[in-house]
């Protein structure tokens, strides 16, 4: 998941679709994000590489839409509805997730366990 600027990023991703929940006047998704290119990557507890400035899921509220859609804490969000989230500021990420015109967000997330699973699968069944 280490990102070298200028090089294409390869990752094993999971597609997660979250329906926004209406709470009063707001549409909420039920999780918190951290990270961004304007933030300090060294303080990110979830990243493997401490220079990774991507957007990470820092908290999933229990029983919310995100948890129901199998989003986990520590996931790195790569795309939101087709928009890239690997090189965005924190505020841009927030805006892309909280568009009032959309009720559904389709995320591409990656996590270490996905990579490990694929690696194990490859190892157990060599070609």
């Amino acid at each position: 998941m280490a990102y070298i600027p200028g090089q294409p990023l390869t990752a094993v991703v999971e597609k997660i679709e979250i329906q926004k929940l209406r709470q009063g006047d707001n549409l909420i998704l039920g999780f918190s994000i951290g990270g961004g290119i304007d933030q300090d990557p060294a303080q990110n507890p979830f990243s493997q590489d401490k220079s990774d400035k991507g957007i990470y899921v820092t908290r999933v509220s229990p029983g919310g839409p995100a948890e129901q859609a199998c989003l986990r804490e520590g996931d790195k969000i790569l795309q939101v509805n087709g928009w890239d989230m690997t090189v965005v500021t924190h505020d841009q990420a927030r805006k892309r997730l909280t568009k009032k015109s959309e009720c559904v967000v389709r995320l591409l997330v990656t996590r270490k366990s996905l990579e490990d699973a694929v690696k194990h699968a490859m190892y157990d069944h060599p070609k």
Binding site: I28, Q39, R59
Partner: protein, 514 residues
């Protein structure tokens, strides 16, 4: 008088021993049951029971307070001890020797000074006396030089008075090398000028008076330059700090550090002594009695009486008992010190309250009030005497507890009280000189006991200070150990910081819920 004082001293020492023996008898009687358990010992044991320690310390304090001052310090309030006699006779002998030396150097200095001042005048006057007819008349340039000679001599006179005619502050063991060198230089200089004058001017009876006057002016100029050399050598050279000396008092370990310049050992010792009188707290021998009694106890415990001839078992038992004994003495010290600390604090609290209350009884009268009510008006001395009794008891008890009672007499306390009242000082300011032991200068003159110091040094005392020089300054009661260390050569480099280079970034870590 010698005989009388010796007798008094012996009597007092006997009484101290008597008290000690009584105490030991008490101990051995009370501890018979214990001695059966432990092996040994016929020696007079100084082994304290923890319960007895309070009593024993009280007795020890009683002994110290009235009677052993002669043995420890050499002065009690009433008697003159052997040490004082020795000191006075030594003072008498040495003062005669020192006075001789002082007068000798004084007369030499006066002779040299007169020679120096009268020489230019003699140079100017002698041609007029010896060959007035042959002499050329003095023109304007020549008379101008007269004024120059006069003023330069006046300046030289003032400068010599400022530098050399100061009251001598100490008598050093060896001659002051730089001064001696300068005196020799001046003498040689003046003698050589006289020689030249005598050969080339007096013998040939030179008639060029202006030349003679210029010669006299050159002499005075050179003397001024020698005076400049004297200032640099005697005063300026030692101003730049070069050595750091560490001065330790041998009796209680008080240490201070000073920076000195390049001085000879005797002059460094003098500078250190001048600092000693203002910086070191006064030497109080009563505070050392506790450690001395502990040392005496250790020594007493180690006496071995080999009565049966069975050396090994006795010695092994001896060592075992000694080891066990040592185990309790630190415990005793700890509790004794804690108890003493508590007692001092309690007495201090009582004293502070008593003094504050006493000070409230006094009020300063203003000018107008003085005219209006001339009834019960007191001057500071009477006011001090009026409020002194209310705090006297608390003060005396505190001084006894901290063992300072011999430093302050009632007269001095009343004087200090009058002084504080006159200068509008608070009770805290009055008490400060009693709560902490101050420097020696603070106390009465008979506490500046040691005006006679002995410099003990392996290197010659006129040689300069070097790195690692050690010498001792001994007086009758204690000695000061001095070690000098060279201040290292400091290599300083610079680093320039552009004021615009101070820039900061914000390291954020925000978390947003969506």
């Amino acid at each position: 008088m010698n005989q009388v004082t010796l007798i008094i001293k012996i009597h007092l020492r006997n009484s101290f021993l008597y008290a000690k023996i009584c105490r030991d008898h008490h101990k051995s009687r009370s501890k018979d049951s214990r001695s059966e358990k432990s092996v040994t010992i016929n020696t007079p044991p100084a082994e304290p029971l923890l319960g007895d320690s309070a009593v024993r310390s009280e007795q020890l304090q009683d002994d110290n307070w009235g009677e052993t001052t002669t043995a420890v310090t050499g002065t009690s309030e009433h008697s003159l001890s052997q040490e004082d006699i020795v000191r006075i006779t030594k003072d008498l002998e040495d003062s005669v020797g020192l006075n001789c030396r002082r007068y000798f150097t004084l007369t030499l200095a006066v002779i040299l000074g007169l020679l120096v001042f009268l020489t230019p005048l003699a140079f100017l006057v002698l041609p007029h006396l010896l060959w007035p007819e042959k002499l050329q008349s003095c023109g304007t340039a020549c008379e101008g030089l007269f004024i120059s000679v006069a003023f330069k001599l006046l300046i030289l006179l003032l400068a010599v008075w400022a530098l050399f005619f100061r009251p001598p502050r100490a008598g050093l063991p060896r001659v002051f090398v730089f001064r001696a060198l300068l005196a020799v230089l001046v003498l040689l200089f003046v003698v050589s000028y006289w020689l030249f004058y005598g050969v080339r001017i007096l013998d040939t009876q030179d008639d060029n008076y202006q030349g003679i006057v210029q010669y006299a002016v050159s002499l005075v100029d050179a003397l001024l330059f020698i005076h400049y050399l004297a200032i640099v050598l005697l005063e300026l050279r030692q101003l730049q700090p070069c050595f750091s000396v560490c001065v330790t008092r041998s009796t209680d370990g008080e240490t201070r550090h000073y920076n000195l310049g390049q001085l000879s050992i005797q002059r460094a010792a003098l500078a250190i002594l001048e600092h000693y009188y203002c910086d070191f707290p006064v030497h109080n021998p009563a505070l050392l009695s506790a450690s001395k009694s502990r040392a005496a106890k250790h020594l007493a415990g180690l006496k071995v009486y080999n009565v049966d001839g069975m050396a090994h078992s006795q010695s092994r038992a001896m060592i075992a008992a000694a080891a066990r004994r040592r185990d309790t003495s630190h415990n005793e010290l700890y509790y004794e010190e804690a108890e003493h600390e508590r007692r001092v604090r309690k007495r201090r609290a009582r004293l502070v309250v008593a003094v504050e209350e006493a000070f409230t009884h006094i009020k300063r009268m203003q000018e107008e009030e003085q005219k209006k009510a001339p009834g019960d008006v007191m001057d500071p001395r009477e006011a001090a005497q009026a409020i002194f009794p209310s705090m006297a008891r608390a003060l005396q008890k505190y001084l006894r507890t901290t063992k300072q009672q011999h430093c302050h007499s009632m007269e001095s306390i009343q004087q200090h009280l009058a002084f504080c009242i006159t200068n509008n000082m608070t009770p805290k300011a009055f008490l400060e000189s009693y709560l902490t032991p101050g420097p020696t200068l603070q106390y009465s003159r008979d506490h500046w006991l040691a005006r006679q110091w002995t410099l003990i040094s392996e290197a010659s005392v006129t040689s300069g200070l070097k790195d690692g020089t050690i010498f001792l300054l001994k007086c009758v009661d204690f000695s000061l150990v001095v070690i000098s260390k060279k201040i290292p050569y400091i290599q300083m480099s610079e680093e320039y910081i552009d004021p615009k280079s101070h820039k900061f970034v914000l390291r954020l870590q925000s978390e947003t819920s969506v």
